[in-house]
């Protein structure tokens, strides 16, 4: 599936919930299903700066597609990463670079997060895109 389609799917899913408590419950569930990073990659180098809870992200190229794994010490943060990974993992680096991130605004995630978490969200997206840029350079 293309990034755009996955994002539309996520937007639809979030629209089904009546309130933000239900959305939080959903994010917690997503957090529990996050593709876990290997312990060996949980290094300080892989910590995303700008998050108040710890977030580790690892990227790996498999068949010219970028696969992300991640972890966090906070479960809602894990849910947020799970949403991002679902949208961007298993995609070609160039597609990740080109992808827009409007779906975040559409599901209202940013405005419903605390300011520190919203900053963290921006840092996470930036980091995923940076990985894509790095691997795209490698492919070229």
């Amino acid at each position: 599936m293309e990034i755009k389609e996955i994002q539309a799917e996520i937007v639809d899913e979030f629209a089904m919930f009546e309130d933000w408590m239900q959305r939080y419950e959903y994010m917690i569930e997503l957090g529990k299903s996050l593709p876990m990073i290997d312990e060996e990659f949980k290094t300080d180098d892989n910590i995303i700066k700008g998050c108040q809870s710890k977030v580790w992200v690892h990227a790996e190229l498999q068949d010219e597609k970028l696969v992300f794994t991640a972890d966090s010490d906070a479960i809602i943060t894990k849910g947020i990463i799970a949403i991002l990974i679902r949208a961007f993992s298993n995609q070609k680096p160039q597609d990740i670079i080109d992808a827009d991130t409007e779906f975040i605004d559409e599901i209202g995630l940013k405005e419903h997060l605390s300011p520190t978490r919203a900053n963290g969200l921006v840092s996470m997206i930036k980091q995923l895109k940076l990985y894509a840029v790095a691997y795209q350079t490698q492919l070229n």
Binding site: M21, Y24, I28, S53, A74, I75, I76, T77, T116
Partner: protein, 408 residues
């Protein structure tokens, strides 16, 4: 039912913000240690200033300037009387506690030399750590830490050992923002003075709960932020003994703080203006005085008794939650409860509580050394004020239970 004689429902009507909703739920504001809410009586003073006598102070010949100057100086006297300072000019208006501490830390640069020792408590806010570290870097002085125990109480016998002839300064908060511990500042001050050291007490967290008598305490410097005691943000005070304030050089240069300026030399104004360069937060200073009037009309004794009841009740109810641990269990503590639930990150609890309309603080509370001491990333902190109710404690406890059920 709680035993208080205060009419809490009547008091709550003074605070317009308490009527609002958050996420469709009535606001339960339990982040009072970060900032307190503002009563209508103080809001009215702020509006009155801008509607009727907004003018620059101490320099205009016109009526408005005189009115504003009078009100501003009356506020200084109110603050002086409240903290029982000997003289009005021992009260310096600042932008808040952080500014106050920096004035002293900066001023001591010229009074401290290499090898001198500075003692700081293990439970300080970053604002009472970083300025002293900077002072040590500038001067070569040594920063030493008064440790604490698991309950969050300072180890006073270690303090005794740390004190020596080379101790020049001691810094400690009156009440810890992260743990609520009321520190034995009388003893700290007395012992520091015996070795000739000066003492700064950060009163930011104490001012909303009790009245410090600076003369009785014999403290050298005491700092307060107005926004913790129902006043506006961006204004506070530095109390300093006259002798000390005369010894310290000015912190900032500018208008108002001078006696005479030529390009060759400037002579500084007398206290308090020496430390009040530029146009101050005039409205804020006046509102600070109004906030003290408001709190005093309710009465600090009644406030302290009621907040203690809230603390006791909240502690007892929160501890019924399995896996909940409270950090800061000093015998002498104020209405602050820092806690975690086993296996759950404090941010997650805070996020769920927010969606239930409950405002708490999560994180390290600008006191990372305390978090390092307990080996935790942070805590959830609920801090209660005299306008909070027993029912709000119940909402908190239910909220924490719900968050726990969702998150575990």
């Amino acid at each position: 039912m709680l035993k208080t004689t205060l009419d809490i429902q009547k008091i709550r009507k003074d605070f317009p913000i308490l009527k609002r909703e958050v996420s469709g739920k009535p606001l339960v504001y339990l982040d009072n240690a970060a900032t307190s809410q503002t009563p209508q009586q103080v809001i009215d003073v702020i509006v009155d200033y801008y509607q009727n006598y907004n003018a620059n102070i101490h320099r205009g010949v016109h009526a408005l300037s005189q009115e504003a100057t009078d009100k501003y100086e009356q506020a200084r006297v109110k603050i002086q009387r409240h903290f029982n300072a000997a003289k009005p000019h021992e009260i310096i208006f600042t932008s808040g506690t952080t500014h106050s501490i920096n004035i002293v830390a900066n001023g001591f640069s010229s009074l401290i030399k290499k090898g001198d020792e500075i003692l700081v408590s293990a439970m300080e806010h970053h604002s009472n750590i970083v300025p002293w570290q900077m002072l040590c870097e500038r001067t070569g002085a040594i920063l030493k830490v008064i440790p604490m125990n698991q309950e969050g109480e300072l180890l006073m016998d270690v303090y005794d050992d740390l004190l020596s002839d080379t101790t020049k300064l001691v810094f400690c908060n009156h009440i810890s923002n992260a743990l609520g511990t009321i520190n034995p500042i009388e003893e700290i001050i007395e012992k520091a003075h015996k070795v000739g050291a000066a003492v700064l007490i950060d009163g930011a967290q104490a001012a909303p709960h009790l009245v410090a008598d600076v003369q009785k305490l014999d403290v050298d410097f005491y700092t307060v932020s107005a926004h913790k005691i129902c006043g506006p943000t961006g204004v506070g005070m530095l109390y300093g003994k006259e002798d000390w304030l005369n010894k310290l050089p000015p912190y900032q240069g500018g208008g108002e703080m001078i006696a005479e300026v030529t390009f060759e030399k400037t002579t500084y104004a007398d206290l308090p203006h020496k430390f009040e360069a530029g146009t101050p937060n005039i409205c804020g200073g006046i509102a600070f005085g109004a906030a003290l009037d408001y709190m005093n009309a309710i009465g600090f004794k009644a406030i302290a008794e009621y907040e203690y009841e809230l603390l006791t009740y909240a502690t007892q109810e929160l501890l019924k939650i399995d896996g909940l641990k409270i950090y800061g269990t000093a015998k002498n503590k104020t209405s602050v409860i820092s806690f975690n639930i086993k296996g759950i990150h404090p941010y997650d609890i805070g996020s769920i509580l927010d969606k239930l309309g409950i405002a708490v603080r999560t994180g390290h509370h600008c006191a990372q050394p305390i978090m390092d001491f307990y080996k935790i990333p942070g805590t959830v902190r609920a801090s209660f004020s005299f306008y909070n109710t027993k029912e709000e404690v119940d909402v908190l406890v239910k909220g924490v239970e719900r968050a726990k059920a969702m998150l575990l």
